[in-house]
């Protein structure tokens, strides 16, 4: 058939069941994204004869003789691999920077371009078929509304709202994500997954599968290295338990890999999966974390398996993956001297990262026979190291690199695809690609750790905290990836932010036969902060104190030791402190008259919560940056950290440009490729600015000094009289072009950062909410967030991180719940059944920045990426409590789960409890 795409008539032969999205990608139009493959996310939106449709739902044969416009050709005709002229909507998305990772952007742009005036006025409805996980929709609404966010640089690049260098490629669909590459002759890998929560594999019959046309190889546990590893990637590999095999003879969760098929086409691979016959011996499965430590509980791992080095368990029960215990002062005494004690248990559910680009990798052998893996990862260097260990290969025989990465949120701080793809390449000698389906993403990757947190707080009548006690049960699932790290982190800053002489933590991470939990934005803190900040609110209410005043009375201030459960020295310091400003900003904003309730059927209330976070993960985090002046007088900056919408490329260019006295446009940034720099721990723990950026700053300062020196030598001046000025070095009466300095050869400098010492960053969230008296529906009337990010490198981008973090947290607080059935199967592995926030669900968040300057971070900057997520659930719970009188103990606050509590609270007490003269009581439970 002939289909006209972006002005070019293309000959195509669609397969009978093929969808148009796949066909268009085969024709070279990589701007048509595969986000969900089910019509839910809208990333594949195209115009078919001028009408917007989801290309993944259109049978390809129906495009015969018709006209297709993809994002590449929206502004005019173009050839595959290119983009036409910029369409006004694309220009608007650039001006507003209406994207972060950009994977949803082609679909957003194509949808926005099809809206009429009425639809543009009601984006909540018009965009209900387009999901974005990064931005929180604020910048997208601005783009469609024609509001620019980019500012012309005023003064130094540092501190200016400059646009992302990748912007033009993102909005035209020409940015190349992991699998947006021609891979001629590549084989397709697909995986058979376990239907059992716990079973021994007795036999895998592969003959029939191997006999099918197009099937090249089948890999089972007989074909993989015996070596154990952890999918979690950390600076110190032994932090996580080595408890995983590439393919195992025992399966420990529904969805675990059983066998892999490598075939000439996806269809052949799928047929082969159906032809595999597997005999399982089902074993007793443990699904409830509360049961995990019973003496008779089914064991997830054998008694000889070792645990990770971070928070290793003391108790010998094999289902215990990690433990944290500690006490300072005397909690019993602190509770005894309290006038009011609050005790409550708060439950955080399983949620999925839901980045729009699923996990995937494509791998091949390069001309030297070296294994090359192009992967959707936050940690290319750690993945390279892990593969070398697993496969017994020297580091110079493996290269891992990223294209643009379509979102991460911690989910890509794991090695979930690269091991199998690498083995398949080594086995077949041919390129192999593997793209996880959205269903696999939900049912068989990783999630946030579900946690049950028991909090006991005591305070004196004047509001002084006397005791904080936490009991944490974290469900790490079948494997121990991130079990210790998440538990440790989750029990740290949450209480270190409070000055209190008596603190105790008992935390346990246990194994169950469920899909593994892993790294997730906030890394344990969102769950514990929900508990502690809800409890703080109850305590303040019980004491008749304003929640802001109560916090001010008890939070740490510079000079106070930051202590959770140990008095051991640590490397966290007050590089700066803006919590006071954050509290003031949110308090002032919430004091302004808020929007009215939609109708008398709705109850309104206000709530707040705070969060502290160490700016860098503990136990080491290193980065190297290499900065070179090229013969053309322009700079090339090479860094290891990955760009997945976090904006680090912009930030690094701004930092380097500031130190080099030039404009960011003169600096080309190359990143996330193990060939580029010596090492980089990775883009996790919000380190892109504070570790990667510090390395870049050091490289830039070293290069600037070298260039001044070289120019001074040429001009016969003292270097202190020379300064860098755009494309030249200027001194008294002279100006030497950078290009001239580079004539003798490239000038290069290297910068390194080690991730220590560390500082602290703060977030305060406030909400006004309306809660329907009867249905339990929650509407956010106002959202206010204050962040202490130190000196903000790029206010627009940092605001975007805050807006996106708040939005993602609203999803986790109100809607999202990855549910398992009684057999351990994920019930809702699709976007239509796992509701992430759409445009209609996310209010505009007013963002304030504290005015601080950090002594630890580069040029005064601090981290600000994962932490805006952390205070949101508690702030919402506290606002709902204020509105209704109901204290909610479990997220998500979905109408069907809270309506009974809301109705009961109205019947029990007036919705606004008296705040003065209240008798103090002990709330024991």
């Amino acid at each position: 058939m002939i289909v006209t795409v972006n002005g070019t008539a293309q000959e195509a032969t669609p397969r009978p069941g093929q969808c148009l999205r796949t066909l268009l990608r085969e024709l070279g139009w990589f701007g048509v994204k595969r986000g969900c493959d089910a019509g839910d996310c809208g990333a594949c939106t195209i115009h078919l004869d001028g009408e917007p449709v989801h290309a993944c739902l259109v049978p390809a044969f129906r495009a015969a003789g018709r006209t297709v416009t993809t994002v590449e050709g929206l502004g005019g005709s173009c050839a595959p691999g290119e983009a036409g002229p910029l369409h006004p909507v694309q220009a608007a998305f650039l001006a507003a920077q209406g994207f972060q990772c950009g994977f949803c952007t082609p679909g957003m742009v194509m949808t926005a371009a099809a809206l009429d005036q009425g639809q543009r006025r009601d984006l909540a409805t018009a965009l209900k078929g387009n999901l974005c996980r990064c931005t929180g929709y604020g910048a997208i609404r601005d783009a469609i509304g024609g509001t620019a966010r980019v500012e012309a640089p005023a003064g130094a690049p540092f501190g200016s709202s400059l646009p992302a260098p990748a912007g033009p490629a993102v909005v035209t669909g020409t940015a190349r994500y992991t699998l947006d590459v021609e891979a001629a002759g590549a084989l397709h890998l697909r995986v058979l997954r376990s239907p059992h929560a716990h079973a021994r594999i007795l036999r895998i019959e592969t003959t029939a599968a191997l006999a099918l046309p197009g099937v090249v190889a089948v890999l089972t546990h007989a074909d993989v290295p015996a070596r154990l590893f952890s999918t979690a990637r950390h600076h110190i590999p032994t932090d996580d338990a080595a408890d995983t095999r590439v393919l195992d003879s025992t399966v420990r969760f529904v969805g675990q890999r059983v066998a892999a098929v490598v075939a000439e086409s996806e269809a052949a691979a799928e047929a082969a999966l159906r032809a595999l016959a597997v005999d399982y011996e089902p074993l007793p499965a443990l699904l409830d974390p509360e049961e995990a430590l019973r003496p008779d509980a089914p064991l997830v791992h054998g008694t000889d398996d070792r645990s990770g080095d971070d928070a290793p368990p003391l108790n010998p029960h094999p289902n215990l993956a990690a433990e944290v215990h500690g006490e300072i002062g005397d909690v019993a005494a602190g509770l005894a001297e309290a006038d009011l004690v609050h005790e409550g248990t708060y439950v955080s559910q399983r949620v999925q990262h839901a980045h729009l680009e699923t996990h995937g990798a494509v791998s091949w052998l390069d001309a030297e026979g070296r294994l090359v893996i192009r992967s959707s990862t936050q940690v290319p260097f750690l993945t390279r190291d892990a593969l070398c260990t697993l496969l017994d290969l020297p580091a110079d025989r493996v290269r891992v690199l990223c294209g643009r990465v379509g979102g991460g949120f911690g989910g890509k701080q794991e090695m979930l695809t690269e091991d199998l793809v690498a083995l398949a390449v080594l086995r077949t000698g041919r390129p192999v690609r593997w793209e996880l389906t959205r269903q696999e993403q939900f049912a068989a990757t990783t999630t946030r750790h579900p946690m049950r947190v028991r909090v006991r707080l005591g305070a004196r009548r004047d509001g002084t905290l006397t005791a904080i006690e936490l009991g944490v049960l974290s469900d790490t699932g079948a494997y121990g990836n991130h079990a210790g790290g998440v538990l440790h982190h989750g029990c740290n800053e949450v209480i270190a932010v409070y000055r209190c002489p008596n603190k105790r933590v008992e935390g346990r991470a246990v194994h169950t036969h469920t899909l593994p939990s892993g790294a997730f934005r906030g890394y344990g803190l969102s769950q514990t902060i929900f508990a502690v900040e809800s409890a703080m609110d109850e305590l303040a209410r019980g004491l008749g104190l304003d929640p802001f005043e109560f916090r001010r009375r008890n939070v740490v201030r510079p000079g106070d030791p930051m202590v959770s459960t140990s008095l051991e020295p640590h490397d966290v310091e007050y590089g700066s402190y803006g919590l006071d400003q954050c509290l003031d900003h949110v308090e002032a904003a919430l004091r302004e008259p808020g929007p009215d309730a939609p109708s008398p059927d709705w109850l309104t209330g206000r709530g707040m919560a705070l969060a502290m976070i160490d700016t860098i993960p503990p136990r080491g985090h290193v980065a190297e940056a290499r900065l070179a002046l090229g013969a053309d007088g322009r700079y090339e900056l090479r860094v290891g950290t990955a760009e997945f919408g976090n904006g680090t490329t912009t930030v690094h260019a701004q930092i380097a440009a500031t130190a080099l006295g030039t404009a960011p446009e003169r600096i080309a940034v190359r990143q996330s490729d193990t060939d580029l720099v010596g090492h980089d721990t990775g883009a996790y723990g919000s380190t892109g600015t504070v570790v990667g950026g510090l390395a870049t700053l050091r490289a830039a300062e070293a290069l600037a000094a070298a260039l001044r020196q070289a120019a001074a030598m040429q001009a016969g001046l003292d270097p202190s009289l020379c300064r860098l000025d755009g494309d030249a070095v200027a001194g008294p009466g002279c100006r030497i072009a950078l290009a001239a300095l580079a004539e003798a050869g490239p000038v290069e400098a290297v910068g390194r950062a080690e991730g220590s010492p560390r500082s602290v960053a703060f977030n305060v969230q406030g909400f006004c909410v309306a809660v329907h008296r009867s249905s339990g529906e929650v509407r956010i009337l106002r959202s206010v967030h204050a962040a202490d990010a130190g000196r903000v490198v790029n206010p627009m981008q940092c605001r975007g991180q805050v807006e996106g973090g708040v939005a993602q947290a609203i999803g986790a607080a109100l809607y999202e719940d990855l549910r398992l059935d009684g057999e351990g199967r994920v019930v809702n592995p699709t976007f239509r059944h796992y509701h992430i926030p759409a445009c209609a669900d996310v209010p505009a968040t007013e963002v304030f920045f504290a005015d601080t300057h950090d002594s630890v971070g580069p040029l005064g900057a601090k981290s600000m990426s994962e932490s805006p997520f952390n205070p949101v659930a508690a702030a919402l719970a506290n606002a709902i409590r204020d509105a209704t009188g109901a204290r909610l103990h479990a997220t998500p606050f979905a109408p069907d789960r809270i309506y009974r509590a809301v109705i009961a609270a109205q019947e029990a007490v007036p919705s606004r409890p008296a705040s003065a003269g209240q008798r103090l009581v002990r709330l024991d439970s």
């Binding site: 397969r15 917007p52 993944c56 259109v58 409805t125 109408p895 309506y899």
Partner: protein, 275 residues
């Protein structure tokens, strides 16, 4: 998504070409559901587009919708002014989880045949006394009320090889006053409860409940009841076991919301009746 087990597509041009239904076949209308989930048991798609059915017809008898009429086309139909139930069409279109882009492809008949509790075309057609015309494989036709077509979640009265050809909404139903209420766990989410009330010129009231229940339920009253009478009928005729249980709403909440929405509808229609 790609349906890799599909070996062939058949595009019949007339009813005479429709014979030969076999296991592994599926009728392809808009394809918005078929292509949204793995279909490993299917091997052939029979494309209904080639039959060229007129999307709709407005006659004195009422509104006749071809099964292949898209949601977008339905939403655009201009209905006679006397058909004061017309706003229900837009309300039900907007109740679809899918956006306007899905409307461009998804069909009315597809929504009915999916038989999802939240299917808004089911709600529309059930509330307006929709009658289905079904083509049987032997060349015959059957008529069936929408209420009888949808038997439960993803379960219809259609036998293999039967095709939903048309849905007729009678003019009498379109002349009724209507009131529409819907609730979901998120503002634009999949309906957790959807209730429609209709009141005819003679004062007869019908409450149609979908989304909350496993199949559509219609409760007819000779006249608009008092609050207590309405609640009692709902409690009596919708047993707990009929409330749907999935991630889009717990059954107890759906039951609670059904009663709330029904009462809101009753009050709205009572207010209009007084005015």
């Amino acid at each position: 998504m790609d349906l890799n087990t599909i070996g062939s597509i058949v595009t019949p041009g007339s009813r005479a070409d429709l014979d030969g239904w076999r296991p592994g076949d599926a009728w392809l209308a808009g394809g918005t559901w078929l292509f949204s989930e793995p279909q490993p048991d299917l091997s052939r798609l029979i494309d209904l587009a080639g039959l060229g059915w007129e999307p709709f017809a407005v006659t004195q008898a009422g509104l006749s919708l071809a099964a292949t009429c898209t949601i977008a086309a339905l939403d655009r139909i201009e209905l006679p002014a006397a058909w004061i139930a017309a706003p229900l069409v837009g309300q039900c279109c907007r109740a679809l989880l899918g956006s306007f882009k899905i409307w461009n492809v998804a069909t009315v008949g597809g929504n009915l045949c999916m038989a999802l509790p939240a299917g808004p075309m089911i709600a529309l057609a059930a509330a307006l006394d929709g009658r289905c015309t079904i083509w049987t494989p032997d060349g015959g036709e059957q008529a069936l009320a929408v209420l009888d077509l949808v038997r439960g979640p993803q379960e219809t009265a259609l036998a293999p090889g039967e095709i939903l050809r048309r849905i007729d909404l009678p003019a009498a139903a379109l002349r009724r006053r209507t009131a529409f209420r819907r609730v979901s766990l998120s503002p634009n989410g999949r309906s957790g409860a959807l209730a429609i009330g209709t009141l005819d010129a003679g004062g007869a009231f019908v409450l149609t409940v979908t989304a909350a229940t496993r199949r559509p339920v219609a409760l007819a009253f000779a006249a608009l009841p008092e609050a207590g009478g309405l609640a009692e009928r709902i409690a009596r005729e919708i047993p707990d076991s009929l409330y749907y249980d999935d991630v889009h709403g717990a059954p107890d909440w759906r039951r609670h919301m059904t009663a709330c929405l029904a009462e809101e509808i009753r009050r709205e229609l009572a207010g209009e009746a007084q005015a």
